[in-house]
């Protein structure tokens, strides 16, 4: 058995130049693929970490039927014990409580259907950077006041200090009605929010909707979205599934997920094409290595070496190439990936502005998750095994008598 490895190793270096070229092409492909993949995955990680942060959170705890029917009747009681657990967990960056309900907003003659968001001002600011989006006034510096979008203000022809009537349905069907002065007007990059959103504090929302000690949802933001499973596990026991339901970002943010999936698909295809080209290179080399050795193979079979043993020599040769080439590639790609992880590519101009507006840093760090690097290695390994199957066939079909007689 040991002989097979020695034999294969020596065979590999019989034609040094050819082997070197094949190895160089594998190495090069692995570097490119690793970097491309790292960037791609890095952008997803970023998107998932940041976009989820400013939208749904990575996990959401909500009343049992809330997801299907987002009315206050399906709101949930605040569970202090659960809150404490989440607070203490190091993987959790912050939890963001919300009360959400539709209302009518009226000022003077104008009335419009709006979304009232009862929030914790500090936490909300952390999540969506509202304090930086204020055109006038402040973001919820007191209870019993509202902050509205600039387009809504324009529509209602209301300004700071004007009191707006909110009218809607509270918890368990009671009428919710209140008169609140505008203390701030914001401008959000997502235009819809400027037309439709009204912010109030949670205590104000509790009052308005008669739902003391209840929330519509509580979103959990993690430092790293991939820790999601651990959190699910950590609170699984405490979560009363009769009352509560937990949704992850996949469910809550289907569009982003779908976007990532289709982007990922094309990325994988690109890398697939790259590897296919390399695969043909490996295939060519192994085929040549096999064809030019038909004479000695024939003699080896004649003197009693089983064909299967010969096959394993060829396979080991292919595996050697795959291992050397991909490890070399990974070794060279790693510093590159590492560098761009810690010195991320920075966006400038409008793109950067948009990122800032969305409360995201305008950078693209390259992923350093080891998984995708290992898979480059595995892909090359599988590739070379596949590339060596056809040459194997020539050995199985080798007519040793013809070769020895010099007829082939």
């Amino acid at each position: 058995m040991k002989k097979i490895f020695i034999l294969a190793w020596r065979n590999l270096w019989r034609n040094k130049k050819r082997t070197a070229i094949t190895l160089a092409s594998i190495t090069f492909a692995v570097i490119i693929a690793t970097f491309m993949r790292g960037m791609q995955l890095g952008s997803y990680e970023k998107m998932l970490n940041d976009a989820m942060r400013s939208t749904s959170g990575h996990l959401g705890i909500m009343g049992k039927d809330y997801w299907d029917d987002k009315s206050l009747i399906n709101s949930m009681p605040i569970d202090d014990e659960l809150g404490a657990i989440l607070e203490k967990n190091d993987l959790v960056q912050i939890t963001i409580p919300k009360i959400t309900s539709g209302c009518l907003a009226s000022f003077g003659d104008a009335t419009r259907g709006v979304m009232v968001l009862g929030v914790d001002p500090e936490k909300e600011d952390f999540q969506s950077g509202m304090k930086n989006k204020m055109l006038e006034g402040e973001f919820l510096n007191s209870d019993h006041s509202i902050v509205i979008g600039k387009d809504l203000a324009k529509y209602l022809k209301a300004g700071i200090g004007d009191s707006v009537v909110l009218l809607g349905q509270g918890y368990q069907g009671v009428t919710a009605a209140g008169l609140y002065p505008i203390t701030g007007i914001f401008s959000h990059p997502l235009g819809q929010l400027n037309k439709r959103v009204v912010y109030i504090t949670i205590p104000t929302a509790e009052e308005l909707f008669f739902m003391y000690g209840r929330l519509s949802s509580n979103s959990i933001i993690l430092h790293d979205y991939t820790d999601e499973d651990k959190i699910v596990e950590a609170i699984a026991e405490k979560l009363d599934t009769g009352l509560y339901e937990m949704k992850d970002w996949r469910v809550m943010n289907k569009e982003i997920l779908q976007g990532i999936e289709s982007d990922n698909f094309f990325g994988v295809i690109m890398i697939g094409i790259l590897y296919m080209v390399i695969g043909f290179g490996i295939f060519g080399t192994i085929l040549m290595m096999t064809m030019e050795r038909r004479k000695e193979f024939s003699v080896m079979i004649a003197i009693g070496m089983k064909r299967r043993k010969l096959l394993s020599v060829i396979i080991v040769e292919a595996v050697y190439m795959a291992i050397i080439g991909s490890i070399l590639g990974l070794i060279l790609a790693f510093p590159l990936v590492l560098f761009y992880h810690f010195n991320p590519i920075e966006f400038t101009g409008d793109t950067a502005e948009l990122y800032y507006q969305l409360n995201m840093e305008p950078i693209l760090p390259v992923s350093i998750k080891p998984g995708y690097m290992v898979s480059q290695f595995l892909v090359v390994l599988v590739l070379s095994l596949v590339a060596s199957t056809l040459p194997l066939n020539t050995i199985l079909k080798l007519d040793i008598v013809k070769v020895i007689r010099g007829r082939q």
Binding site: V299, A302, I303, G304, V401, I404
Partner: protein, 230 residues
């Protein structure tokens, strides 16, 4: 004792198109310890005959018994194993594995047979020494002359102590001096180890070294006896 027994052996190539009766009804035996030359004009069937006896090709008709065992109907893979355990081969060219040293080439067969390293070492060195190439043990084939390569090939064929050795024109690529050296060494080993050796040749001087001469023509044995020189 009879090592090889051959009965009504026939090999017909292209039976359906242009049939070639390469071996056309051979009956003969080879006794243990014989040193036999197969001779005859080009195309008379020497190589075919040796390939049949060595189980590299299968006969169209007839039987080959080796130590009483009929090998004519064995499967390809079974034959490979049979060859490994029973037959030593020396070919005209490409005998040695280029990436292995002379030592490793000879040891190779014994390793395939799973012999212990200690035994391999003694045996290989003993054979390389006997064949006069002990000082070349660490050299790769391309560093050896044609004659030295063939001597290593003979050492390899002997390594596993096979029942017999088949050598198809082992000297065809050698100059006359190397040819003589190789033949003398083969003869020496035939006497020393008692190995049955059957080889084919065109060369008059080579056949004269044989103990028994089998003359072929047109796929048949047309003469069988001692060479004139003996």
């Amino acid at each position: 004792m009879e090592v090889i027994k051959i009965r009504s052996l026939k090999k017909i190539y292209n039976p359906d198109t242009v049939p070639v009766h390469a071996v056309d009804g051979i009956d003969t035996e080879f006794q243990s310890g014989e040193f036999t030359a197969i001779v005859g004009p080009s195309g008379c069937g020497k190589t075919t005959f040796l390939n049949l006896v060595g189980g590299l090709e299968s006969p169209t008709e007839g039987e080959i018994f080796i130590n009483g065992e009929n090998i004519s109907h064995k499967k390809k893979s079974q034959m490979t194993d049979f060859r490994l355990h029973n037959i030593g081969f020396v070919f005209q060219a490409y005998n040695l594995i280029p990436v292995m040293s002379a030592y490793e080439n000879v040891a190779f067969i014994m390793e395939l047979l799973g012999r212990p390293q200690s035994e391999i070492k003694t045996r290989v060195m003993e054979l390389l020494d006997a064949m006069g190439v002990a000082d070349k043990a660490g050299q790769r084939p391309h560093q050896l002359s044609g004659g030295q390569q063939q001597r290593v090939a003979v050492a390899r064929a002997l390594a596993s102590k096979p029942k017999f050795i088949l050598a198809d024109e082992p000297t065809a690529n050698l100059d006359s001096h190397s040819t003589e050296t190789l033949l003398d060494l083969m003869l020496k080993m035939n006497e020393k180890e008692g190995t049955t050796i059957i080889f084919s040749t065109h060369d008059q001087r080579v056949m004269n070294k044989a103990r028994r001469l089998v003359q072929m023509d047109d796929g048949k044995i047309v003469g069988n006896g001692k060479p004139e020189a003996n």
